[in-house]
């Protein structure tokens, strides 16, 4: 099963390498990864998407918790959560398709950030929705580049992220 794991990590030299190194050296795969500081500048948050059996995911979670820099590990997938992704698209839109393309972007809640020399579009949403918008837009012109930021997750509970088990 696909799991979305959120890791709070101390902002120390080499900390990110230790997380990714652990995952690769134990033979687990990373589908997407996003990292940025939190409102506490000494702590970064990693959102990691990986796939594996329950046993593999349990191992990933417990091995991550053995890293000294790791503050908490939260498997989002086990609780009620929201997952969102940001994508930037670059496309060449035929002159007679520009209105239709703009409508697709607006309906999806996205923005056209620039139109010259190429269209640059910003879309935020679920992974499926982003994939769908990309597919729809490809009918109006040529997709030149797709930049996806990786999935971010947040739990719906009113509390802060629970501490690691």
């Amino acid at each position: 099963m696909r799991h979305l794991i959120a890791i709070l990590l101390q902002n120390e030299a080499g900390a990110l390498t230790r997380v990714t190194g652990l995952i690769s050296s134990r033979g687990y795969n990373i589908e997407s990864l996003s990292v940025a500081p939190t409102n506490d500048p000494s702590i970064s948050r990693i959102t990691l998407v990986t796939t594996g059996s329950d046993a593999v995911i349990a191992q990933i979670n417990s091995q991550l918790q053995k890293l000294v820099d790791v503050v908490t590990v939260e498997d989002m997938t086990t609780g009620d959560h929201l997952a969102r992704e940001l994508a930037l698209l670059k496309l060449q839109v035929a002159a007679d398709q520009q209105d239709a393309a703009a409508q697709v972007v607006h309906r999806s809640g996205g923005k056209v950030l620039s139109t010259e020399p190429a269209w640059i579009v910003e879309i935020a949403g679920t992974e499926d929705m982003i994939a769908e918008v990309i597919a729809t837009l490809s009918a109006f012109g040529e997709i030149v580049e797709v930049v996806r930021g990786g999935v971010l997750g947040i739990s719906r509970t009113g509390r802060r992220a629970p501490t690691a088990r």
Binding site: T17, A58, A164
Partner: protein, 604 residues
């Protein structure tokens, strides 16, 4: 830690002097290391400290940095205290990668302090520069690169804290030369914030065995006819050997131990069933096959024990596990009951819970069965042989040392024979590279152990191939006048590799035979200053020469030319179940088993 300020608080010092002061505060009485450009400030600070304190922190110099870190590991394994190695940048640091990984795999607390090129030169491919944080990050429990000198002393203290707490392990400090030369005010206290680590540690430490969990386990024991304890290295690392013994005596449950768990219970205890696993005693492995309840304590079902996890302890209806590391529970084998927490407390709580509940269970039929297994499937070898059998040699040494000596080993056949034939009355006497299986471990580990335990007889039981890996350390033994005993069991090559090649590769001895090698070990040891350096080739001389060797007051070296065809039995092939155990010609077997090469993917 008291609240009184440090006597040197506020004093201006160099970073190197601060490191030395923190080592003193952490109780370090010996350090091991090899000098070089990037660690010179620290070496100078150690020199000055020793000059001022009548040599209170000897710095022991090996032939190679791998030796230094294995000495630190041997010191730690024998004493339970943190071992310390100080090495220079680049090659000095990379030479310690093997002992750092070895210590991680066997949960041994060491701190390795590496010099690093100056902060301004990091990343420029400077002379003797290596990316130590990246390299060590993959193998150590933790690594710190110190770039902010104001955090140096707190970092060094925190390194010791991380090394010794929880599941112990190696911590590497990478300290640029300019940070060692920096001058600042010594604070005398303070650690780095490592909130996640401490929180998890406190939670596991506070996790007491609940009454309901205790009752559930006692209920399972009540139902069991044939309970067996499977004790691992965690019992020793967790300081739980006494608690285990008391529990075993109170409940009268037989105990098998892993390679790392040897000494967790006195091997001569009436409940001790010796070592299980790939080269475990046949009776130990049969007990595992026959038990209906298995209690894993500080053991992790590794592939040398549970080569085939699905068929391991196949008749156990209930498996319970005590550990301190959450990732070891349900990693290999599903367990029915587990407790995560400090072992001494948990084992004591179980014993107390049993006492309060008036738990009384008569397992005398199972005890008789275990006695029968021990007698019928006892360890044995070719006693009538005219050649020296390695087992015979070890029995003769054991007759004199009586389970009280510290025994270190290399890796291979001699290691397994030593595990099988020596007695160990207490923990921390058996020093072996269990998980990593590092050849060359034995000699430096023995040196480190002798520094930690000055009054113990320390014997490196080595192989002719293993000792070659760190043979430079023979000189270290005599340089420091250590009474370490080095016995090389010479079977002309990589005996264990040859055994596998005979069993699984139709006897093609690819690169494992050394019978044409010219090395004269006795002369080599003499050249390194061993006054006792003897070759033993005749079986009749074994008792006399072994006695002279063990009784020799100083460094002693003994090469024993043994039967090169002696095998290690029993053997459970890689990936195989205990049902497929072969016992060789001299140990009885419950059934005749054909040697079947394991699946190719299992061949490690």
């Amino acid at each position: 830690m008291g609240s009184a300020p440090h006597p040197r608080a506020g004093e201006m010092m160099t970073g190197a002097e601060m490191i030395v002061q923190v080592l003193v505060d952490e109780g370090v009485d010996t350090v091991f290391g090899y000098s070089g450009g990037a660690i010179l400030p620290l070496y100078d600070a150690v020199f000055c400290h020793n000059e001022a304190t009548a040599g209170s922190m000897p710095l022991i110099v090996p032939a190679n940095e791998q030796g230094a870190a294995f000495m630190a590991a041997g010191y730690a394994r024998a004493s339970g205290r943190v071992g310390v190695a100080l090495v220079t940048s680049g090659p000095g640091a990379t030479n310690t990668v093997t002992p750092v990984r070895d210590s991680m795999a066997d949960s041994v607390p060491i701190v390795v302090i590496c010099g690093q090129v100056p902060t301004s030169a990091i990343g420029t491919d400077a002379f003797q520069e290596a990316p130590v944080p990246s390299i060590m990050g993959a193998v150590a429990k933790h690594v710190f690169l110190v770039t902010d000198p104001t955090r140096l002393e707190a970092t060094v203290r925190t390194a010791f804290e991380i090394a010794r707490t929880g599941r112990p392990g190696p911590v590497v400090l990478d300290i640029p030369k300019d940070v060692q030369n920096w001058r600042g005010a010594f604070n005398g206290s303070g650690h780095l914030p490592i909130p996640g680590y401490r929180q998890r540690l406190n939670r596991v430490g506070a996790n007491k065995l609940s009454e309901s969990a205790c009752a559930a386990l006692l209920a399972a024991l009540e139902r069991a006819e044939r309970p067996l304890i499977y004790a691992g290295g965690g019992v020793i690392n967790g300081g739980a050997a006494e608690a285990l013994r008391d529990l075993v005596h109170a409940l009268r449950i037989p105990v098998v131990t892993t390679l790392m768990g040897i000494g967790a219970i006195d091997t001569s205890d009436e409940m001790a069933m010796r070592m299980l696993g790939m080269h475990g005693a046949a009776f130990a492995n049969y007990a595992v096959e026959d038990c209906d309840l298995l209690l894993a304590i500080g053991a992790r079902f590794d592939d040398r024990v549970a080569g085939n996890p699905a068929k391991f302890a196949v008749n156990a209806k209930f498996i319970a596990q005590f550990d301190i590391d959450v990732s070891e529970v349900n990693k290999v084998k599903h367990v029915h009951w587990s407790h995560l927490g400090s072992l001494p407390e948990a084992l004591t709580a179980l014993r107390e819970g049993a006492r309060r509940a008036g738990f009384r269970r008569d397992w005398s039929a199972w005890h008789r069965h275990c006695d029968h297994l021990r007698r019928t499937y006892a360890m044995n070898y070719d006693r009538a042989s005219t050649r020296i059998q390695p087992h015979y040699l070890l029995e003769e040494i054991n007759r004199l040392t009586r389970g009280e000596a510290i025994i270190s080993t290399g890796v291979g056949q001699h290691q397994m024979w030593a595990a099988q034939y020596f007695d160990f009355r207490s923990p921390r006497l058996w020093l072996t590279s269990g998980s990593m299986g590092t050849m060359g471990f034995g000699l430096p580990a023995a040196i480190g152990a002798q520094f930690a335990m000055r009054d113990r007889v320390v014997i490196d039981v080595d192989g002719d191939a293993s000792i070659r890996m760190n043979i430079g350390e023979l000189e270290t033994v005599t340089t420091y006048g250590l009474p370490v005993k080095v016995v090389v069991i010479n079977n002309c090559g990589d005996g264990m590799v040859k055994q596998w090649q005979k069993l699984f590769f139709k006897g093609r001895l690819s690169a494992s035979d050394k019978s044409l090698h010219k090395k004269d070990f006795v002369k080599a040891a003499m050249a390194d200053g061993f006054e006792f350096s003897v070759r033993l080739e005749s079986k009749a001389d074994v008792p006399r020469v072994v006695e002279e060797f063990i009784r020799f007051p100083g460094p002693a070296f003994l090469e024993v030319v043994v039967d090169p065809d002696a095998g290690v039995y029993p053997m459970v092939g890689p990936g195989q179940s205990y049902d497929e155990m072969i016992t060789g010609e001299f140990i009885a077997s419950r059934k005749s088993v054909e040697v079947v090469p394991p699946g190719e993917s299992e061949m490690f």
